[in-house]
Amino acid sequence: METLDAHRLVIDIPGRGAGRPLDFAVAPGERWGVLGPNGAGKTTLMHTLAGLRAPRSGEVRLAGVPLSRLKRRALARRLGIVFQSQHDDFPATVRETALIGRHPFIAPWQQEGPEDIARAEAALERLDLKHLAERELSTLSGGERQRVSLATLLTQSPQLWLADEPTNHLDLHHQVAVMELLTEQAQRGCGVMMCLHDLNLAARWCSHLLLLYPDGEACWGAADTMLVPDALERLYGQALTTAMVDGAPVFVPRR
């Protein structure tokens, strides 16, 4: 089981000061939520953690090895990411899209085998997409498309899951289903990190939180220590009312 850690990491956002370097580790079984207002750098952080963007300084390590020393393909077998948006310029079916999650595991001259197809089918089943398997991506709703991206990541089945707003476009039931899927992966021993805009989903399902402020300031720690109304109000510049429901805090914006 592998840990992803940020070591004195400053993400590269043009025109912004260094802020506070990030020093945290996503250990197996942990579910990290990243909270912050629009433009705080959540997506840039996710891309940096996935090795898709170079940091301004510091480094990201997977099981102690800096990402810059790993080959792309080897990295893709261990770490996967769901992006906030997709570029569907060419026609493709839902099933084909789930199946590309197996790409890092198949040699160039090999075809997808029965085991790869079985994994893709299971992922489609798990995300409630079986009935859409033959559909073109262009005919899907936003929420359905988002679930296809998650099915691709589930087919890839890495040890580290990064998800940039995985509940984007999803209805309430599927939001819960996705949080349960991520929780289940963490219970299997994966490390999970996701950007969220919904404080209440974060409060219910995340074990740890990272708060990113627009000026580059940040704080992180166990979820119950981070869900302090003062800190959250400062984060979003929005007054909040707090209530306890089912043993978890619920945050509602004040009018």
Partner: protein
Amino acid sequence: MSDASAQPVGRGLRLRPLGLLALAALLSLAVSLALGSVAIGPDELLAVLAGGGDALHQTLVLELRLPRALAAFGTGALLALAGALMQILLRNPLADPYVLGLSGGASVAALAAMLAGLGVALVTGAAFAGALASTLIVFGLAHGTGSWTPTRLLLTGVVMAAGWGALISFLLAVSPVERLPGMLYWLMGDMAYAGSPWPVLGVAVVSLLVVMPLGRTLNVLARGGLQAAALGVAVRPLEWTLYLLASLLTAVAVTTAGSVGFVGLMVPHMLRLRLGNDQRLILPASLLAGGTLLTLADTLARTLIAPQQLPVGVITALLGVPSFLYLLYRSR
């Protein structure tokens, strides 16, 4: 997983369309050998190909029609393959082999050579040099001081193409009238000066062998650079390979037959409408369908108003445009 065997990912499902396209390719070559100033029946054609038959027919088929048909097939195959690769590189289904200004560079150099009164071999050499020069200029400029994105590459190429277009008009305007027909034929694409078919056919076969192992990786690249990188694709080296390969294929095709239009844009696009977007199928299918289309078009070009010949590019456009529009209209 009883239904897994029915998924469109197995090798078997790719063989049927490829088999049909290969059959169509053979038929197109046969038609091209049979038709012309002297029509040759199927029995006689087989006899000639087997080494027998009438001596006149032998000369007609083996020395005149066969080299030209094979050159047309190879040129069409290269253009369609280059178009399919360019579309993936630019993540744009509307890209064609000439979109980055490559044919413009080749045309300016070839027309300049014609204007200088140089022979066929030098015109051909100039076209190849012009195509490569245009490739390097566009690539260098798109690279610029930062990173290049598909959009930046596309814009650079389109603007370069416009520049070449102006130079072509200039060269035509200052050329003596008696040279104009040759120049116009070259600009529209013409198989009459194709010469030996083996360079184009050889390049087509070798490039297919190069790209086939990349098929699944190209499928992933079509989903966007970030997604491909996240799935373990070394995006930048792959994009370099695609760019250089597509440019080389186009340069060889343009050198052989001038700038034949529409094949590179339409063939891959039409195939995608029918067969989906698995490059392991689309790339070899483009090669076969592109070759077939240009072979048939060239046969029409030299028989339609015989003994006069038409530039083949006119025929590809006249055949291609309506069939493309029909497929687009019928598609979901």
